[in-house]
Amino acid sequence: MIGRFDWLGVIDFFPQLGIGLCYTLLISVVGLLIGFVLGAIFGLGRLSKNKLFYSIASVYVEVIRGTPLLVQAIWVFFALPLIIEYNLASISAGIIVISVNSGAYIAEIVRGAVQSIEKGQMEAGRSLGLTHNQAMRYIIWPQAFKRMIPPLGNQFIISIKDTSLLSVILVPELMFQGRLVASNYFNAVEIYTTVAMFYLAITLTLSFVLRYVERRLNIQ
């Protein structure tokens, strides 16, 4: 079984897969950074008493969570340019998709973490004379932030894997490079297995780092 395949030959394609890997990491890191900012803003929106801010944040979250990432990617790359009459480079489109998509999920993580802090914490703060903003800043946020870390790590891993879907909009990331090689050299088994291992290497590393952070911060 194993012998039929040219596993050593895969090494010849490492430079090309390596380029793909770099794009995957680039889009993941930039996309998640922007996604984190979007998530923080719209997470606040979901917690806001301001009806307009709350509604905008809710529509954003529901639309993104309610549509497949693949549809979002194709829409941004093929439909959006027709609307704004401006062609997006595939990499920009990819970053937009990952940012906007992860932002919606991160917004829910932010909201959930803040709402999971017992009501008594805010009340204790207010009863001591802290303003609402002071109580949020010194009491609620530090506790909520700790609770966000495990689900955020989970979302990071999901988003990194999601970047593979961007191959359909021609982002030259890892999956795209793998498909390119496999279709030219008919070594689908070796290449796709290798691609899978690359993703696994990234996600396992991230899991490991996250577990370390969680241990350091004493998160159960």
């Binding site: 017992e118 008594g120 204790a124 207010r126 009863s127 004379g129 802290l130 010194y138 009491i139 530090p142």
Partner: protein, 240 residues
């Protein structure tokens, strides 16, 4: 020092307080007793505006807290509250729990706040626990820290909402002892409690609440030995 007139509180259609009248002098210790759901917590929470008051008048230390121009946070700094569930801040150690509000609200320097915190920890018998985190303390210790934290704002009035109800029986005494000492030092206190022994010993006055009303009030002696209202008798028979 406190004057409450015709205090009403509704949650939606549910009328929880139905016209509370009560007055309290400085240094007075009042215990509030009554069945669960009678509105005792809600009454306390209205006094420091953790609940919005539906109607009525509450005057604390000459200030009408219903006045829309009044600074709610200022009122709250004058009224300390101790909760059944302690509500210590789990991400801060004991000393940080105590000094947070004095620094952020009273604008004390860190040194001043810590000096104050050390005095208070000594008072509640926890001098050696400043660096501990709440999870490392017993319930009784946590509640004593919560009392110290409230006192750090130097309030004129302290509210206690069933401060010992979440404690194991063997830890109740240490918390009541701190409260008793506080009462002897002249703190004005309202204590919702099921500890009838404490009420009898420490309270100047006992209020019996039922269905959102103060049904009966009097000295502990009078309430516990010769209650006038049938409902008070019934309640006391159940708990004593």
């Amino acid at each position: 020092m406190i004057k409450v007139r015709q205090l009403y509180k509704k949650f939606g259609d549910n009328e929880v307080l139905r016209g509370i009248d009560c007055e309290m002098k400085e240094k007075e210790v009042v215990c509030v007793i009554g069945p669960s759901g009678s509105g005792k917590s809600t009454f306390l929470r209205c006094l420091n505006l953790l609940e919005t008051i539906t109607s009525g008048e509450v005057i604390i230390d000459g200030e009408n807290i219903m006045n829309p121009n009044i600074d709610i946070n200022k009122i709250r700094t004058e009224v300390g509250m101790v909760f059944q569930q302690f509500n210590l801040f789990p991400h801060k150690n004991v000393m940080e729990n105590i000094i947070l509000a004095p620094m952020k609200v009273r604008k004390l320097s860190r040194e001043e706040a810590i000096a104050r915190g050390e005095k208070l920890l000594e008072k509640v018998g926890l001098s050696d626990k400043g660096r501990s985190y709440p999870q490392q303390l017993s319930g009784g210790q946590q509640q004593r820290v919560a009392i110290a934290r409230a006192l750090a704002m130097e309030p004129k009035l302290m509210l206690f909402d069933e401060p010992t109800s979440a404690l194991d029986p063997e830890l109740v005494g240490e918390v009541l002892a701190v409260m008793k000492q506080l009462a002897e030092e002249g703190m004005t206190m309202i204590v919702v409690t099921h500890e009838m022994g404490f009420a009898r010993e420490v309270a100047d006055r006992v209020l019996f609440m039922d269905h959102g009303l103060i049904v009966e009030e009097g000295t502990p002696e009078q309430i516990f030995t010769s209650p006038r209202s049938e409902r008070t008798k019934e309640f006391l028979n159940k708990v004593l």
